[in-house]
Each structure stands twice: as structure tokens, then as C-alpha cells.
Amino acid sequence: MIPLQTQSTLPDWAALAPTLLLGLTALALLLVDSIDPDDDSPGLLAGVATLGSVLAMVVTGWYLVAGTGMPRTGGAIELFNGQLVVDGMSLFFTFIFASVTALVSVASYDYLADRAHQAEYYALVLLAATGMTLMASANGLATAFVALELSSLPSYGLVAFLKNNRGSVEAGLKYFLIGAVSSSVLVYGISLVYATTGVMKLPAIATALGGGVAGQGTLGVLGVGILMVAGGFAFKTASVPFHFWAPEAYEGAPAPISGFLSSASKAAGFVLAFRVFVTAFPLEVVAGTLDWTLAFTVLALVTMTLGNFAAATQENVKRMLAYSSIGHAGYALIGIAIVTGTANQGYALGASMLHLFVYGFMNTGAFLFVALVEYWGVGRTFEDYNGLAKQAPVACFAMTIFLFSLAGLPIGGGALSKWALLSATASAATLSAYLLAAALIVNSALSLFYYSRVVKAMWIEEPAGDFEVSSYPTGLYAAVVGAAIVTFLLLPAFGVVSGTAFDAAAALF
């Protein structure tokens, strides 16, 4: 056990060490690039990016174990006059971001082989990750907006990274346009909230609303503001109806970036939504204006249903994963949709956090497997995957773990996180919670259909052509197998993570 007095010996700003590490790594990458602009040493770039993210992950893990910013060591650490806050939840999510970044960096080494602008690629990934960690820590609406843009802007560039690929560029442009619309919705919503309350910091907003600033006349203004803020976050989490960018961005982007966006970026949207709604708009204060749990219930139902139904009819594996990712956003929304007075609120939110944690590994892993297949140049449809297991059994085994875990079969942590969501709905015991639970079950059943199509293609079908897997890239394999091992280990070790998640979530209330 790391001695608790480290907390007292380190200065407060050190709580931001993961964020700083990620940001500095991005700068270091740019520095390397300016010294050696020809991308002669891809290994060095990937190594620096991986090292930086792994360091951030280790530091975050250490903080989580040591209890930085948690009630047992004196509660959340506020920085910059309370604009940023470091607590259990921010660290928990930072851990997700850092580990996904590490996986993506490792995998990109092979994926980007012989491509130009590698330094920019890694730098953008790390800058986006920095933005995400800031989203996790943001404690004011203005900070939140800036952090969100910090993570979004590099993402646009990353999606369009394959400059000579039409799909990639088109996807990047669409992503950017929809992002612009959504950002304006968000910032307009923020302005309306500010108009009613006159403050930007989240706890202050709650205080102001509790004090009754929102008079009868401004009720509508506040309501519209809150709903538009929710819309802005829905863009980041790729929830309906702000999801339109997602299928195309995930499909067009380089596969590691698809994994990065669909896991880390989505989680970042969630952590921001969790914090803003729980801290700034406590339900007991704004329920008269807007019962946002109802809004999130609607969003969750529509999102998971639409995502899964659309995924069921796809022909393209990557696009199927993109829609399934939308479906999973719907599952994660359950946590915030049932944060009502009667439920065990920490448990509900913790269940969502856990799902996002497991999802970070299994979904990134699945996209990295797609990256591996793209690296081989196999093809993108289900049929192209036929008989792949004969040539790459290890990777296909890992993919099978990811897919079944995504579906919720007890071969990986996905089963337990879905179970946690279900039991959270059961403890909430309201009609809408049961509705959500039913939708979760039905959609999971449906998802098994399209996930097993991939498994069937890989293991059972005969190969269509006489394709030969030429090489087994170390970096991609390492990332895929590593993600698979973590996904599997989260099954027995779920209890270790879940304790942290529930504590972190409970500290928010």
C-alpha cells in the first residue's frame, strides 16, 4: 500500500499529473518531429506516445490506489479557483483514457507503417486525450466547453488523417460539421444557463438554482438551456439524435482512431455529463423545470434501440461496430437515467462507469482487430472475414472474446458490467427503470445476433478466396492480445474495479 502521506507531501497541482503528462508528451512529440521532420523513426514516435500514456496510466492507477481526491484522503482537490477538480471519478475516467491511448499508440505503430505525418498523428491523439482528461476534471461550464473542444478538434483531424482516402476525408468533414452544430448548441445552452444563474462553476450553479434565482419567468430559459447542454454532451457520446456523425466517422477513420473515439471520446462525454448534471443540476432542484432523468431515459431507449437495430443489418464489420458503439452509449446512459431520489444513486452511476471501463478495453480491442484486418488488406465485409481463424487463430480468439463480451456473455467483463446496470435498474424499481432494463435485455439479445455473425464467419465459414496472411505485426498483436487479456481478467477481477467505481460515483452525491 502506498503510504497516504504522499498526498500531503505532493503539492495540489500534482493531482493533475496525468493530464500534464499527456499534454507534455504531445509537446514532446512535436519536438521530436521538429528535430526529425521526415518520420524516419516511427518507433521513437510510437514509443514516446506509448510511454507518455502508460506513465499517465500508471500515475492515475497509483492515485486511485492511494485515494487521491477521494473522501478518505480529504475529498476532491480543487484547482485553479475551482475550475478543475480531481476526484475519484475524474481519475477513474483518466485511467480509461490513458489506457485506451496506450493501446491505440501501440497498435498505430504497425497501422501507420510507411505513412507520412506520424508525429502529428500521435501528437493529436495525445492532445485529444489531454482534452478528455480535462473534461473529466472540468468543474465549470466554460472549462467544460474548452476541454470538450480540445478533445474534439484533434479528433476531426484524426478522422481525416488518411488524406488520400476519400472516405476518411469525407468522414472528417462530416464529423467536423456536425461537431460544429453540436458545439453551438452546447455553447448556446451554456449561455442560457448563465443567463439564468449568472455563474459558470458547477457547484455555484446548483447553489444559485437552489436559492431560487430561476424565477417563474426564466423557467423556460433554464429548461431550454439544460436540454441544449445535454444535447451538446449527446454529441460527444454519440447518442441519438446527435449520433449521425458516428457511423461514418468510425468507418472512415483509421481503425485505431475509431477505437479511440468510440471508447475514450465517448467516455469523456459521459464523465462530463455525469458531473455537470449531478453537480450543477441536482434533480431535486431542477425537477420542476426539467426532469432530465426522463430526457436521458428517452435518449437511452432510442439510442440503444436504434444503434442495435441498425447494427443488425450492416454488411461491413467496422460499420457494425460503429452502430454497436451507439448501442453501448445507450446502455451507459442508463446509469444517469435512473439517478432518481429513490435509487441508490452512486450504484447507478457506478454501474455506467464500470460499463464504460470494460467497454474501453473490449471495444478498443475490437476496433484494433479491424485495424489488424485492414493492415492485412483482407476486406471489410462479414464475408471477407470467412475462415480468418485458420490463419490467425490468436487474434481471432481475442476478437471472439471482445465480441462475446460486448454481447454480454460471461467470457469477459462485459457480462458483469451489464449485470451491474441491470441490478441498478432493479434497485431503482421505477417503471422507466424497468423499461430500460427490458430494453437492455432485448437489445443485448439482438446484439448477440450480429456479433456472432462475425464469430461464425471467422471460425466456421470456409474462406472465400485464397488469401494468405503475410505477416503478424507485433504492435497490433500486442495491443489486441493485451486488450483481450484485460477484457477477460475483468471477469474475475471485476470486484477490484467495481469498488473504486462505486466509491467514486458515491462521492459525487
Partner: protein
């Protein structure tokens, strides 16, 4: 001093070991696993003898024994499920019978299987050992669930052994039939087991905590709490509910002991090797049903309706099966129907309150029927597996050992004094008569049983005369194959026993002379502990029989001796008449098929009263269409709904997919519309406007 009781589990475990040995190493062993079985069952027999001596009180004062061996399911806030051992006079007697016959059958198999160069012997001996294990464990089971488990296991072994020659057509089909028909009965048994556990919270056969004792309490004394709770839940009176439970369990009994209407599997089961028929389908497994009724006799005594049904089924089956035995042409078929008929007698005895008579007949029947089957096996070896009696004849001189022992068994079966069957059958009929005098239902059952005596004498000696007497009617019968010691030794032992085993309970002699020679009766009365603590002694049963079941003895002309003599004379006379008729018709050098004179009746009998036909009709005419309807329902409605859901899903998935047009301005528009809709909806709900 070490008590035999501690070794009781070994009685069953030894054959289990031999099962494993025969299965794994049988191929490389001399005699292909037979020796393992012989040693194991010999060990079982020794321990059984030791146990019996202990139960008799010769080796210490503890005369009954109950122990839980292994609790395999621990209930939380409810009952446990366990395996256990219960040894009392009844089970120790049965252990003795089963291990003795098992041993003899193993020895006989050396001659019947090994000497005939059969293939697959390890499988044969393994199955036979597994059977011995299951049967012995069934016998000492201390609770009804364990009994059920081993009841099913013996059924499995029966299936495996009937279908031993699975490459031929008939045996696999017969095995399936036996399995399905008995399973049909066992289905009710299983429900009964569940019902008993649900009602009483225990399946124990004996002691105050057992379910017969609790049921007795519920009817005669104070209702135990859990029972009354359950009864009020089902909304029935105690006796009514216990009758249902008893009848459910009886379903398994009727199937296993081949009673009407589930007797049809037993004649077909004769497709199995003859030693198997002797052990499983005559002496032991078929007895499991009867034994089960005797085991939970304290429970059945509480419901007079069930008792009457048992008696009626028994009496009817005894007569019904005997009529079919009259016309059969194959040696083993005659024996099969005679087995069904004899088990009918035991059921008759149990149903009419003759507990001792039933156990007595069970014992003697095990001996003489095993003997007859083994004798038939010897004949079959000699006749090169031709079983048709019309091809035999004149075997008497060629195989004297077989003839004389077979004759001993036949005399016992026909019930000719002083052979074993006379004493036991006479007691069965006597008990049925004295209890039936005050009870018309039992009297009807008795009358049917009595009529069957004549038929038994007739078909038994028809069989004997056709097989052994007269002139040889085929070339094989002229020059039969000789059999060796391993066939003759078991025949000899059983032949002597068939003549003498009846002496263990000579009630008529006792009544006439006053000599106390009714040993079996005393054995079953049991010690004081047995009656006071374990509640499975006869002394415990008698008052219930009288008070609850309402079955009382009454005598013709008020005299016990008169009734006794009359009954004995009647049954002996009928038996002799049957034998005499058979002698007149068939003990001639060139017998002819007199049964042809029966005309249409013969056709009916040859077709076994069309029992098989109606059961096949039930299966094909009723069950199959019903199954088809269910299948249509499943395929059409259930699968239809499922398929419908999936096609609706895929269709709507396809629609949803089309929302994604690829045109970014559409996305922006849809996004805005979606947001606007949300704003309007929540605005209206929240009263913003």
C-alpha cells in the same frame, strides 16, 4: 467388536468396483471380467450373510441400523437430500436374495456367455455389475429419493442388458420398449417423490422422522405442522392426499414390477441374454416394485383405497398373465408371463394385508424363478438358442441335472407341496381370503388369484412336458449340446433351495401342530427396537392395518384351522388339477397343440389381449397426433413469433439504416429537428411556455 452394519455400504460398493474393473480392464482379463463380478458378488453375499446374522440378533443387540452417508444437497431453511443406509429385517433379507442370485448368475454366465464365445463380454459383465450395485443400493436406501435414483439406475442397466445384442433387430427394440414403458410409470413415481418431499419435508422410510410415521401421525394423532400447512395449501384431507401420493408412487411400482397395464415390456425383455432374464427380469429388479411397496408399507396401510387398488391390480394381473402363459410356444415367454403372474400374487398379498406372505413369496419366487430361467438357459444352450418348445421334447435323459432341477422349480412354481411355492402361495391366498371375507374387493382379488393357481399348474407342466418329455421333435433335440459345471452348479444350488426354502415359514404346520416354525414371520416381526424406534416391524404394522386400513381377519365357520385347511386344499387341489390336465394333454410321446381348440380365444391370448396393439395405438393414434399439433404450434406460433420478431427487427434495422443517408445537411436537419422535438415535448411537460 466390529459391527457388520458398518460394512453394509460395501455390499453395493464391491459390485461397483467390479463394474469399473470390468469396464476398464475387462478386455485383458481372463473370462473378460466375469471373475471380478464373481468375487465382488461373493463378497457382497458374505457381508449380507453377516448383516443378516446381526439383524437376527446373533451378533450383538443392535438389530437394525440407520445412517446417513453423504448429504449431497444441503437445504437452507428446508430439507437436505442425502444418501443413507437403512438395514432392517426386510432389507437384509432382500440383500441376501439379491447378492445370492447375482453370484449364481455370474457363475452361470460363464457357461452361457463365455463358453458360447459371445463378443462384448466386458460390456456384459460391467452392466451386470452395475446392476448388482444399483439393486443392492436400492435395497438399503434409507429415503425415497435415493430409492428413486437407484430405481432408475436398475432401469438403465435393464435397458443396457436387454439390448446387449444390439446388432440384431429385436433386442434394441425390446430394450427401448422396456425403457419407455417403465419410464412411463416412473414419471408418476418421480412426481410422487416430489410430492412426498413437499408434504413431509423428508423422504426417510423409517424412524419417527420418516414420512410414513409423519403420515400416521397426521391421520391418527396430532397433525405435524409442515404437513398441515401443505394440506391446507392443496386443500385436501390427509387421507385423500396420501392416497394420491401413494398412487403416484404406485405408478413406478406397476411399471417396474410389470403389473397390468404396464406389464407389456417384460415378455419382450426376454430378448436379453437368459442369465439377465433370470437375475433382472425374474428374481430381483422386477421385485423392486413390490419391495418398494413393502418398504413404505407403513404409508400404504394408511390409505385403504390404495390398498384395495394394489390388491385388485395384483389379483387381476396374476390371472390375466397366467391365461397368456397358457398358449405361449417359447420357453422364456412362458416364464415371462408366469413372472408377471407371480408378482401379481405378491401385490395381492400386500394389498390385502399379507405383508409376511408377500415377502415370503418374493423370497421363494426369487429362488425358483431364477432357477427356472437358468434351467431354460441351459436348455437354450443345449438347443443352440432355439427357444420353441415344439422343437424340443425328450431332453430328460440327455440333461438329467437340468431336468431334475427344472422339475423342482416347476413344482415350486405350480405350488405343489412341499416345494417352496406351495407354502408361500398358499399363505398369500390364505391371507387374501381371511381378509377378504369381510371385504368384497379383496375377495374378488382373491378369487382371481385362486383361479390363476389352476392355470399356473397347467402352463408350468405343459412347459415341462413339452420340453423334457416325449420324443425329440427336432434334430437338435436328438443331440443337444452338453453343458458344463458352471451351468450345473447354480442349477443344483437353486434346485435344492427351491425344494426347501419354503420351510422357513410353514404357517399351516405351525397352526396345526403348534410348533413355532414360522421363522420368516418372526423375522419380520422384528425386535423391540425395530418396532419402537424404526417403526418398520410387523408389530408396528398390524395395529395400523386393523385400525386405519380397516382390514381385519375373519374365518369361515369361525375357525382358523378350518379356513386354513380349506384354503390350502383348494389351492393345492387346483394346482394339481392344472398339473393333471397338462399331464393328460402333453405327457404323451407325440403331443399336439391342444390350444388350437380354444379357437378365437387362442388368437386373443396369442396376441396378449391386444395389449401391445392398444398401447401402440395410444402412442401412434393419440400421442403422435397430439405431438404433431404441439409441433405445429411450436413451429407455427412460437417459432413464427420468434421469426416474426427477427424479421421485423431486421426490417426496421434496415429502415433505421436508411436514415443515414450520407448527406451531411440531412444529418444537421435531423439533428435540429430531434432537438426541437425534445425541446417542445419537455417544454410542454415542464410548462415552460
Amino acid at each position: 467388536m466390529v459391527s457388520a452394519f458398518e460394512f453394509v455400504p460395501a455390499i453395493a460398493v464391491l459390485p461397483l468396483v467390479s463394474f469399473v474393473v470390468a469396464l476398464t480392464f475387462g478386455k485383458w482379463m481372463p473370462k473378460k471380467g466375469a471373475l471380478a463380478g464373481i468375487f465382488a458378488t461373493a463378497g457382497s453375499l458374505l457381508i449380507s450373510i453377516w448383516t443378516a446374522l446381526t439383524v437376527a440378533g446373533f451378533l450383538g443387540s443392535e438389530t437394525a441400523y440407520h445412517e446417513e452417508i453423504w448429504t449431497f444437497a444441503t437445504g437452507i431453511g428446508t430439507f437436505d437430500l442425502h444418501l443413507g443406509v437403512f438395514v432392517d429385517p426386510l432389507s437384509s433379507l432382500m440383500l441376501l436374495i439379491v447378492s445370492l442370485i447375482s453370484l449364481l448368475v455370474f457363475v452361470f454366465s460363464l457357461g452361457y456367455m463365455n463358453d458360447e464365445d459371445e463378443t462384448g463380454l466386458p460390456r456384459y459383465y460391467a452392466s451386470l455389475s452395475l446392476f448388482s450395485f444399483s439393486m443392492l443400493a436400492f435395497v438399503f436406501a434409507d429415503n425415497i429419493l435415493m430409492a428413486f435414483m437407484f430405481f432408475e439406475l436398475v432401469g438403465l442397466c435393464s435397458f443396457l442388458l436387454i439390448g446387449f445384442w444390439f446388432r440384431e433387430d429385436a433386442p434394441p427394440s425390446a430394450a427401448k420398449k422396456a425403457f419407455l414403458v417403465t419410464r412411463f410409470g416412473d414419471f408418476f413415481f418421480l412426481i410422487g417423490v416430489v410430492g412426498i418431499f413437499a408434504t413431509f419435508g423428508t423422504g426417510l422410510f423409517a424412524t419417527e422422522a420418516g414420512f410414513p410415521a409423519m403420515a400416521e401421525q397426521a391421520i391418527t394423532g396430532e397433525m405435524p405442522g409442515p404437513v398441515s400447512e401443505f394440506l391446507s395449501a392443496v386443500g385436501m384431507g390427509a387421507q385423500q392426499w396420501f392416497t394420491i401420493l401413494g398412487l403416484l408412487v404406485l405408478g413406478g411400482v406397476v411399471g417396474k414390477s410389470a403389473q397390468f397395464p404396464l406389464h407389456t415390456w417384460l415378455p419382450d425383455a426376454m430378448e436379453g441374454p437368459t442369465p439377465v432374464s433370470a437375475l433382472i427380469h425374474a428374481a430381483t429388479m422386477v421385485a423392486a416394485g413390490v419391495y418398494l411397496v413393502a418398504r413404505m408399507y407403513g404409508f400404504y396401510l394408511l390409505t385403504p383405497t390404495t390398498m384395495a387398488i394394489i390388491a385388485l391390480i395384483g389379483g387381476f394381473t396374476a390371472l390375466f398373465a397366467a391365461t397368456m402363459g397358457v398358449v405361449k410356444q417359447e420357453l422364456k415367454q412362458v416364464l415371462a408371463y408366469s413372472t408377471i403372474s407371480q408378482y401379481g400374487y405378491m401385490m395381492l398379498a400386500l394389498g390385502s394385508g399379507g405383508y409376511v406372505a408377500a415377502v415370503f413369496h418374493l423370497t421363494t419366487h426369487a429362488v425358483f424363478k431364477a432357477l427356472l430361467f437358468l434351467g431354460a438357459g441351459s436348455v437354450i444352450i443345449a438347443m443352440h438358442h432355439n427357444e420353441n418348445m415344439w422343437d424340443m421334447g425328450g431332453l430328460k435323459e440327455k440333461m438329467p441335472v437340468t431336468y431334475w432341477t427344472f422339475l423342482s422349480g416347476s413344482l415350486a412354481l405350480a405350488g405343489i407341496v412341499p416345494f417352496a411355492g406351495f407354502w408361500s402361495k398358499d399363505e398369500v391366498l390364505y391371507e387374501a381370503l381371511i381378509h377378504g371375507l369381510g371385504n368384497p374387493v379383496l375377495l374378488v382379488a382373491w378369487a382371481m388369484g385362486l383361479l390363476a393357481v389352476f392355470l399356473t399348474g397347467f402352463y408350468t407342466f405343459r412347459m415341462v412336458f413339452l420340453t423334457f418329455h416325449g420324443e425329440p421333435r427336432s434334430d437338435t433335440a436328438e443331440d443337444p449340446e452338453s453343458v458344463r459345471w458352471n451351468v450345473k452348479l447354480p442349477l443344483g444350488i437353486l434346485g435344492v433351495l427351491a425344494a426347501t426354502i419354503g420351510f422357513i415359514n410353514m404357517v399351516p404346520i405351525k397352526k396345526l401342530t403348534g410348533l413355532k416354525i414360522d421363522f420368516l414371520h418372526k423375522w419380520l416381526v422384528g425386535s423391540e427396537t425395530l418396532n419402537a424406534e424404526f417403526l418398520t416391524g410387523l408389530e408396528h404394522y398390524e395395529p395400523i392395518l386393523k385400525n386405519v386400513a380397516g382390514i381385519e381377519a375373519s374365518y369361515i365357520a369361525g375357525s382358523e384351522i378350518t379356513t386354513l385347511l380349506l384354503s390350502a386344499a383348494l389351492s393345492l387341489g387346483l394346482a394339481l388339477a392344472g398339473v393333471g390336465l397338462a399331464y393328460r394333454l402333453y405327457a404323451v410321446p407325440e403331443p399336439v397343440e391342444h390350444t388350437k381348440k380354444l379357437g378365437g380365444l387362442r388368437t386373443l391370448l396369442m396376441h396378449n389381449y391386444y395389449q401391445d396393439e392398444y398401447q401402440v395405438w395410444l402412442a401412434e393414434g393419440v400421442t403422435l397426433p397430439l405431438a404433431r399439433v404441439a409441433d405445429t404450434f411450436d413451429q407455427g406460433i412460437i417459432d413464427g413469433v420468434v421469426n416474426g420478431i427477427s424479421s421485423v427487427s431486421l426490417f426496421s434495422g434496415d429502415r433505421v439504416r436508411r436514415i443515414q443517408t450520407g448527406v451531411v445537411s440531412n444529418y444537421a436537419a435531423l439533428l435540429t429537428i430531434g432537438l426541437a422535438l425534445l425541446l417542445i415535448a419537455f417544454g410542454i411537460v415542464g410548462g415552460w411556455f
